[in-house]
Structures are given as C-alpha cells and as structure tokens.
C-alpha cells in the first residue's frame, strides 16, 4: 500500500519537474557569436557591449569605432559584439530589460519589434540630445518610427525605400523590357508573357511578410492603422491591394515561394537558381543579393515599383533597425555619443552605403556622385544599373507606414494566418480581412 503512494508521488514530481526542464533547454538554444572589437583602443578604453541580429552591422561599427578611437583618445571604446538570430536576440533583450539585468549597453531592435519595447515605461535612454545636431540632415520619419511621446529612443540605419529587383536574364528570354513597366496592369502583361515563354513566375506572392501590402497601401495613401493608431486592415484600400496581388497570382504572374517571402534562406536559393524574376523589396535587399545570390551578379536591375494608377507614389520605407542605448548601460553618455557618431554623422552615412549597401538616412549622401557611383563599390559592381539613379528618381515619392503599438500584432496575424489563407488556401479576401480585423481587435483588448 505504501509502495503505491510512493509511486504516485514520484510520478507527480517527475511531471512537475518536466515543466522546468522544458523552459531551460529553449534558452540554451542560442548563445550567439561573440567578438571583441578593440579598433586601436588603449588600455583605458571603456568596454561596451552591443547585440545585433545582423552580422554586417557589427562590421559597420568596427569601421566607425576605429575613427572614433582616433578622434577621441580620452574616450576610447572597446566594443563587445554579440550576433544572435533575430527572434532570439529580441526575446533575450526583452527579458533582460524586464528583469533589469543582463542587457547590453547598445542593441539593435528591428522596426517590427520596436513598439513592444516602447510599451509602458521604455527601459531605453532617450536620444534626443545626441540626435539634435544631426536632426536637419536626416529623414524625419525614420526617427519618428522609433519615438514615443516626443522622445527618440532609436537611431535609424537606413531609409529602406522599396524598389523592384528584376532578373533581366529571364526578362530578356521572354522579350520583356522592364523599363516599360509602370502600372500593375503592365506588370501583369509582362508576367503573363514571362510565364508563357519560360514557365517561370514573374514574382512572389508573399505569405510571411507585408512589404507588398505596405507598398500598395502607400500608393493609395492609406495605412494599416488609422490616425489614432487603431487597426483598419479591412479598409477598401487593403481589399484593393490584396485584389491586385491575388489577381496577379491567379494569372500565374506571382506564385508563393518557399520561405514565404524573398528575404529568407529558402527564397535566396529559389532566386539564385532563377525561378522567380522579380522581388519587390526595400533597398536593403541589395546586400542579400550580393551575399547570398552570387549567381545573379550582373543580371539584376533595380527599378521603381509598379503602381495601381500612373502618378501614384512609387515607394515606401520598409523595415529598419533602431539602435538603442539601454537604461542599464555602463556609461550612458559615452554610448549615446558614440552611437550618434557611428550612425548619423556624414562619415557614418557614407560608410553605411559602402559597407552595408543601405540607402542612408542623410539624403545629402544620395547626391554625392563620387560615393554613390564609385566603380569599386561591390554593390555598384553587382547590379546592372546604379541604385541611386532610381532612388533619386523616386526620392520625393517615398511614403511611410506608421509604426504603432498595434503594429506587431497586425504583423503577426497577417504573416501567420491571413496571407496564408489568401494566397495558399484561396480564401475570400474580404472575409479573410474581416477575420483578421476581428482577431487583431480581440488580441489588442
């Protein structure tokens, strides 16, 4: 009789201990890659830690740190860079900020996650004082997306102007001239020709990202949220946007892609093997081409995105990384000063283009021919035409979608459920959007 009691007790404790066990192993999953950049720093340098989810961002800081240490011998810095996968980094940072221990001094936060870090009382340092000297030179909306109640918490990396990347090899094979594509109607005709002649799809119908919806909403002067930041994802403009995309998918111009959108490992492979002819993406997609799709070198041309009707704005800022200084930083002022220098100064903006291939937020750089058209630049070499020729053509047409507390929820519902329902299952657009609106409102309660 006693024996049974013990067995019961043992089973129960085991079941309970499993709970703790499962929590533990997930946090072990990612410890990240660490490297220390001393960039000529002396013995008295302050060591700052920096978390990022993009390895290249660390390289940019390395270059800027060298200049900083040379110019500020009494305020030298050693930077401790940790690169972690996207989700892991944001989750770890969120836990570290909530518990008040273990956060780095400086961290990258992606736009899609940023509103979550602005909830309640942000555990980040306001950066207004260090941004002020550069404020006139940089695109205002890129600062606004990382702000709350007039306080700027993040320093932007790029504008992220959306453009179309055309694989000219496929287009030539089908006899299509991409420079003639102005409206979605033109794009559809071109795409049908490509599909008929090559059997390949002109572009992707994205199910795990909302770049395309942002573009089509911006063209119609609309947004995912209204003026008060309330979600309005079943608006007539949104319905129109998805109708355009769905119609393209139905006529075999667009097709879903492995990975769900162009900026995924699976999709890099698909593009690299020449299975899709177009990617509609923010300009930072350039660095993905040079890094992950070497076979397409010399074949990719950049052009403005097609519009619903001629005269509509042809671009929208997409994605972005706000670099922040945490409240627990060792030397807040030093971290802030360095950050502003490394990302906002003119030098930094030139470097951002040179190293990262991003469209810098200081638009003066866009006009520096010797920088933008430098024949030695790897991005200039890789692409068929110069990206800045396109950027300068659309520079006054770059619209913005708002980033509000509701944005991460909207993004989550669309990228997991709604877009899959529409493009994979063929669910009725209006119905899918109404469901999404209801789901988002329910989650935001």
């Amino acid at each position: 009789m006693k024996k049974k009691g013990i067995v019961v007790l043992m089973l129960l404790t085991m079941v309970l201990s499993l709970l703790t066990a499962c929590g533990k192993s997930s946090s072990n999953a990612a410890s990240g890659e660490k490297s220390v950049i001393d960039a000529g720093a002396g013995e008295n340098a302050t060591e700052l830690s920096y978390w990022t989810f993009v390895e290249l961002h660390g390289k940019h800081f390395e270059k800027m740190l060298e200049k900083w240490n040379k110019a500020n011998p009494d305020r030298q810095i050693k930077l401790n860079v940790t690169v972690m996968p996207y989700d892991d980094m944001h989750n770890k940072l969120s836990i570290a900020l909530q518990t008040g221990t273990g956060a780095p001094d400086i961290a990258d936060i992606e736009l899609g996650k940023f509103p979550d870090f602005l909830k309640g009382t942000p555990q980040l340092e306001p950066l207004n004082d260090v941004i002020d000297p550069y404020r006139d030179t940089i695109v205002k909306s890129r600062i606004d997306i990382y702000s709350k109640d007039g306080k700027n918490y993040g320093i932007p990396t790029h504008v992220g102007a959306s453009v179309a990347f055309y694989n000219t090899e496929i287009l030539e094979e089908a006899g299509v001239d991409y420079t003639k594509i102005v409206t979605w109607e033109d794009f559809k005709k071109a795409g049908e020709q490509v599909y008929a002649k090559t059997g390949k799809h002109m572009g992707t119908a994205d199910t795990s990202a909302m770049w395309q919806e942002s573009m089509l909403l911006a063209q119609q002067g609309s947004d995912f949220t209204d003026a008060d930041g309330k979600p309005q994802v079943n608006s007539p403009q949104m319905v129109k946007a998805l109708q355009v995309l769905k119609d393209l998918q139905d006529s075999n111009v667009l097709a879903t892609i492995a990975g769900g959108q162009p900026d995924t490992e699976e999709a890099y492979g698909e593009f690299n093997s020449g299975n899709y002819a177009t990617a509609f993406m923010p300009l930072w997609m350039m660095s993905r081409f040079t890094n992950y799709m070497p076979d397409l070198s010399g074949k990719i041309a950049i052009a403005p995105i097609p519009v619903i009707e001629k005269g509509m704005p042809r671009s929208v800022g997409g994605g972005g990384t706000g670099t922040v200084v945490t409240k627990t930083a060792k030397d807040v002022q030093l971290a802030k000063d360095f950050l502003a220098y490394a990302k906002l100064s003119e030098d930094a903006n030139i470097e951002i283009w040179n190293t990262l291939g991003f469209d810098p937020v200081n638009m003066k750089v866009w006009d520096m021919k010797e920088v933008t058209h430098n024949p030695e630049n790897e991005f200039v070499k890789y692409f068929k035409n110069n990206p800045f020729d396109v950027l300068n053509e659309i520079r006054d047409e770059i619209k913005y979608v708002k980033s509000v507390p509701a944005s991460p929820t909207i993004n989550n519902v669309f990228c997991t459920v709604t877009l899959n329902e529409i493009f994979e299952d063929g669910k009725d657009i209006k119905q899918a959007l109404d469901d999404a609106q209801a789901q988002i409102e329910q989650e935001l309660q």
Binding site: A29, A258, G269, N420
Partner: protein, 297 residues
C-alpha cells in the same frame, strides 16, 4: 554536538531529504506561486504590476489562437500516445526475442536519435519536409509521380512532419522502458504457457501486456505530459514560433509568444496555469483509471 545531531534518528531523515525539499521549494513551489499571482496581474515593462482579477482568464476563453494551440497540443499528445506506446512495445518484444538477429545493433540504432539535439534534428526535418521539388521527401514522392507537397503549410501534412520527428526521436527511449519492463517477466510463465499450447499472440496478450502494465502506465504518464508541453520540436520545425495559420502552435508556444515575444507576462502566466491544470487533470484521471490510487488487496 554535530555527531549527536546527525546520528539522531529523528533528524537525520530530514537532513537527507533537505536538498530535494529545497530544490522543490525554490525551483518549483516559488515559481508556481508567483505564476499564480502574475496570472491575476497585468505586467507592463518598467511599471508596477496592476491587479486585474480574472481578466486574463476570461480573455483566454475567447482567444481563438489560444484554443487553437490547446487543440494542437491535445491532438499532438493523442497521436504520440497512439504511435509511441504500441510501436515501441512491439519493437521491444521483437528485440527481446532470443531468436532476433542483430539485437544490440537495433537497440542502439533506435535509441541513437534521442541523443541528438532537437535543434539540429528539427532543422534537418524542416529541410527534409521543405516545399521545394528538390527536398528529400518531395523527391521520394516524385518517384511515385506525386506532385510536390507543401508539408509545413498544411495542418495535416504539418502534423505528419511533426509526428515523424517525434516518432523518430522518442521511439528508442520508450522502447528501452519497455525492454527493461520485459526483463523483469520471468521466462517460466512463457514456458508454462507453451506447455498449455498458447500461441505467440496469446502469450503476448495474456502474459506480456498485463505484466508490462506498470511500465505502460509510466510511459503513458510521461507521454501525456511531454505531448502537452511540446514546444521546441515545433519551434525548430517551423524555424520560429509563427507557423503558417498557427498549425504548429502549442500551448507552451503560445505562452512563449505572449510572455517573451509580446512581453505580456501576466497573460502568459495564465496560459501556463491552464496548461498545468490541464496536464494534472488528464494525468490524474488516467492514473485513477489505471488503478494506481486503488488500495492493494
């Protein structure tokens, strides 16, 4: 003084169980207590927690995604029970058979997957079940003239991938449990049965299965819990917590999404409490049915 203390028959037992009690109190009772508290609060970054009564729980009831995750976990648990109890039992009986050829080889090769990291296994399974024509499973299907399947984008096909991963990984472990159970069954019973003219099936049905019952109950109990608490397999298979249409979202996955990804710790705590209650209830019912609480005659 110390000696007297240690040799005291009254005190010594308590000293010996103290490490366990401490671990239990610090790492289990305390977190559980604070989870219960948190589940009645709204916790916002950098601000004092705010008491919201039953709000988190009432919200959970109307939360379609939460219900979906409960459904997923329940279906996954049931499927693992249906696969991961009969199959390992059968394999254990086969391997335990004296006439079986290559016993040690099968034993270790079936156990081997349990030693791999779920992270690595999940990643490899994701690539195997990829939607491209060239992925492993789709090339197999191609030989039989079947069109490529988007495994990880459909509910049923996604679960096939998930269950394949679970079976591959846990088959050997459960088999070992059953093997050790089989070792404790004396050969005499089988001999006696043979003399009485029992068939192999009758022996399995009348001797092996009843005598394996304690092992089966044990495996059932841990499988129920492991099934309901599954998370990393899904996380790795879909390369993140956001599977298309939430087909791979589990209860723990939802807890992770709310608590860690969206910093709604209060709401996430409520999810955790529901999971605990659910797992405990199912296990209690199961244990009651299997007669574990009955007094020995």
């Amino acid at each position: 003084m110390i000696k007297r203390f240690l040799y005291s028959q009254k005190v010594a037992p308590y000293v010996f169980v103290l490490p366990f009690i401490l671990v239990f109190l610090i790492f289990w009772v305390y977190p559980l207590g604070s989870s219960v508290t948190m589940s009645f609060q709204k916790i916002t970054l950098g601000q004092e927690a705010e008491w919201v009564g039953l709000d988190n729980y009432t919200k959970l009831l109307g939360d379609k995604i939460f219900l979906k995750s409960v459904m997923n976990s329940a279906v996954y648990m049931l499927c693992t029970l249906l696969i991961l109890i009969p199959l390992p039992m059968l394999l254990a009986v086969l391997i335990n058979n004296k006439f079986m050829w290559g016993r040690e080889f099968f034993k270790s090769s079936l156990f081997f997957p349990a030693l791999t990291s779920v992270v690595v296994a999940g990643t490899i399974f994701r690539l195997m079940f990829g939607e491209m024509d060239g992925s492993l499973i789709n090339s197999f299907l191609g030989w039989f003239g079947i069109e490529p399947v988007k495994f990880l984008k459909g509910q049923a096909t996604g679960f096939i991938a998930l269950l394949t991963l679970a079976t591959w990984r846990w088959l050997g472990v459960n088999m070992l449990y059953f093997l050790s159970g089989l070792k404790s069954i004396p050969d005499d019973y089988y001999e006696a049965a043979s003399i009485d003219g029992a068939s192999a099936w009758q022996k399995f049905r009348m001797i092996t299965m009843p005598l394996l019952k304690p092992t089966t109950i044990y495996v059932l109990t841990i499988s129920i819990y492991a099934g309901l608490a599954m998370f990393i397999e899904s996380l790795m298979l879909w390369n993140g917590n956001n599977s298309p249409k939430n087909i791979g979202l589990t209860i723990v996955g939802y807890l992770y999404r709310q608590g860690i990804e969206k910093s709604n710790l209060g709401y996430a705590a409520a999810v955790g409490i529901v999971l605990l209650v659910l797992a405990m209830t199912i296990n209690m019912i199961q244990l009651a049915f299997s007669g574990l609480f009955k007094k020995e005659d």
